[in-house]
């Protein structure tokens, strides 16, 4: 059943990189141009009526944001993750706010946290979590939290900032974790 669907998606939408992942999801990749049309098709014709979430992973080394639209079919119990890569320096994607009511909230958050634009999405420019934020979108990999904090709030006498993973290895467990492998 799922393989028939996937064959058709390859043929009609040019999907690639179909991967089965434990415990029970299938991911596939589709172009930015076919993304909205594919998601609409999955919802309207294939029973994927539930949008679990929309998320983004920043692959800064490849110059892309990977959007993931996680969809679920309540009848067949199938979970499908749709990957869409967009360029970091032209971060824009077609809005799906007409498909699910919560989609525009996700898009609003992605605009704030990654700087991705979804033309036409309602209230896109309204602050989500970060009131009056004027720096780089903070979930981008090149946003340096320690540097931002030092510049924004300044140094306070007696305060020391440590990298958590180094602190645990080298200072808390010098004989077990330091430079051992």
């Amino acid at each position: 059943m799922m393989s028939e669907l996937l064959d058709r998606l390859v043929r009609d939408f040019g999907v690639t990189d179909i991967t089965e992942r434990p415990p029970a999801i299938t991911t596939l990749k589709v172009s930015k141009e076919n993304g909205e049309r594919l998601i609409r098709e999955l919802r309207d014709r294939e029973g994927f009526t539930h949008l679990n979430f929309i998320a983004c992973t920043d692959w800064i080394e490849d110059g892309i944001f990977r959007l993931i639209y996680m969809l679920h079919n309540y009848d067949s119990k199938q979970n499908l993750g749709v990957h869409i890569d967009i360029k970091r320096d032209h971060a824009e994607m077609t809005s799906i706010h007409t498909l699910w009511a919560q989609a525009w909230t996700y898009q609003r958050e992605l605009r704030e946290m990654y700087g991705i634009h979804f033309p036409g999405s309602p209230r896109l420019e309204e602050d989500f979590c970060l009131e009056g934020w004027d720096a780089m979108p903070p979930m981008r990999r090149d946003f340096d939290t320690a540097k931002y904090s030092a510049e924004r709030f300044g140094h306070r006498e007696g305060r020391v900032s440590l990298v958590p993973r180094d602190h645990m290895k080298v200072q808390l467990y010098p004989n077990r974790g330091g430079d051992e492998s």
């Binding site: 009526t49 992973t57 602050d127 939290t145 077990r176």
Partner: protein, 389 residues
């Protein structure tokens, strides 16, 4: 301005025209972030025509601590002190799902005893959370006696959490590969005694709260979620079940030992605040019953932790997964991407409040009397921290 109501409106997500506040006909009112009738630190920006709400906007961010960003800078094991803080009244689901996501990617299998103990921990968490919710729902309609009763019993459950895990709220009990400890001596006897007492408490609460004429009058017909709204608005858990859907991840996509337990998915039909409240009372009783079953079925010996690599240097293989569980509010999920290093590449936490407290709440609030907004909000059972992460 036209109020959007009825069946055909379920798919109409168009934003209403802004209200002309300068006309002097309307009042803007902020409910929260500091207000006894708000569920946690969030706020509702309300526009009133008389005492009827004609516009609602949910504002979050008061609890934003950048958990997902933090997780990208710490080792896998260090994140256990972070994930449990994402949903304060229900930290255990975060622990379980974070551990389950790592296990799914790395191929680690937790031993059977650990799976029973995890199930016990999650059902205790469900019971504690529902008891807290009953207090909130009662309080929102002026029934503070019920709130005092149920919150006292929640504390008794926290006593048992302290015995089992060493902590009352943030347990950090479920770790990759299993759990940190077995049950202390005599624990089974004490928890079964508490379950018997809880049954009696729930009977009292049903008599005092659910049969109360004021509660019925105010909750019935309030915040109706129609069947047609459920999928377009991403409604899950008791909010969807009260509208007639028999959907429960514990049955539909069983995890841990739920396929070995005897229970049915409870559903309703009216889809209003009273139906949701009554359904949650039934699910609280169901949770008590499941705890008894887990105590009866859990192995008393055997390993509770799989062999694991040195956690200080653990490099989880590159991969991607999405794991989910049925928390008290419905589908709770962790999406995880790893790149083969000792740091997680991306974690996205999917909490049911994300849609219940924003898209759904903003829709249901329109047309509601201002006096009922707190009751409506609690009836959706939302936790702001899981929205902001």
């Amino acid at each position: 301005m036209t109020l959007v109501t009825g069946h055909s409106a379920a798919l109409d997500f168009a934003q209403p025209d802004p209200v002309d506040l300068s006309s002097g006909k309307y009042v803007k009112l902020w409910q929260g972030p500091q207000h006894p009738g708000i569920t946690g630190n969030m706020s509702l920006e309300l526009v009133l025509d008389g005492d009827t709400i004609i516009e609602c906007k949910t504002h979050v961010g008061y609890l934003h601590r950048g958990f997902e960003k933090l997780m990208e800078q710490r080792t896998f094991i260090q994140n256990f002190t972070v994930v449990c803080r994402i949903a304060v009244p229900e930290p255990a689901f975060n622990e379980y799902l974070y551990a389950a996501a790592i296990e799914a990617i790395s191929g680690v299998q937790s031993p059977p005893r650990a799976q029973w103990l995890r199930t016990l921990n999650l059902e205790m968490m469900r019971l504690a959370s529902f008891l807290m919710w009953i207090g909130g729902q009662g309080g929102a309609f002026g029934q503070y006696t019920v709130a005092n009763w149920s919150l006292t019993y929640r504390d008794y459950v926290l006593d048992l959490f302290e015995e089992m895990t060493g902590a009352r709220i943030y347990h950090m009990y479920m770790v990759p590969g299993g759990v940190r400890a077995g049950l202390p001596a005599g624990f089974e006897k004490r928890i079964l005694k508490l379950m018997d007492d809880t049954d009696k408490l729930l009977d009292q609460i049903e008599r005092v709260m659910y049969n109360n004429v004021v509660f019925k009058a105010r909750a019935k017909g309030l915040g109706v979620i129609t069947r047609e709204m459920v999928d377009p608005y991403g409604v899950v858990g008791p909010n969807a079940r009260a509208s007639g859907f028999r959907r429960d991840l514990r049955k539909d996509e069983p995890y841990l030992v739920y396929d070995q337990l005897d229970f049915n998915v409870i559903s309703g039909s009216a889809g209003d605040a009273y139906e949701r409240a009554y359904l949650r009372l039934q699910e609280t009783r169901q949770s008590v019953n499941l705890i008894r079953q887990v105590i009866a079925g859990a192995p008393s010996d055997g390993p509770f932790q799989a062999d694991m690599p040195n956690l200080l240097h653990w490099k989880v293989p590159a991969g991607e997964t999405y794991v989910k569980a049925e928390c008290t509010r419905g589908e709770y999920g962790y999406y995880m991407v790893t790149d083969g290093t000792e740091i997680v590449r991306r974690v996205h936490v999917r909490g049911p409040s994300y849609t219940h407290a924003i898209a759904l709440m903003e829709r249901l609030a329109v047309g509601t009397n201002i006096a009922d907004i707190a009751g409506l909000m609690v009836s959706l059972h939302t936790y702001p921290p899981e929205i902001e992460r």
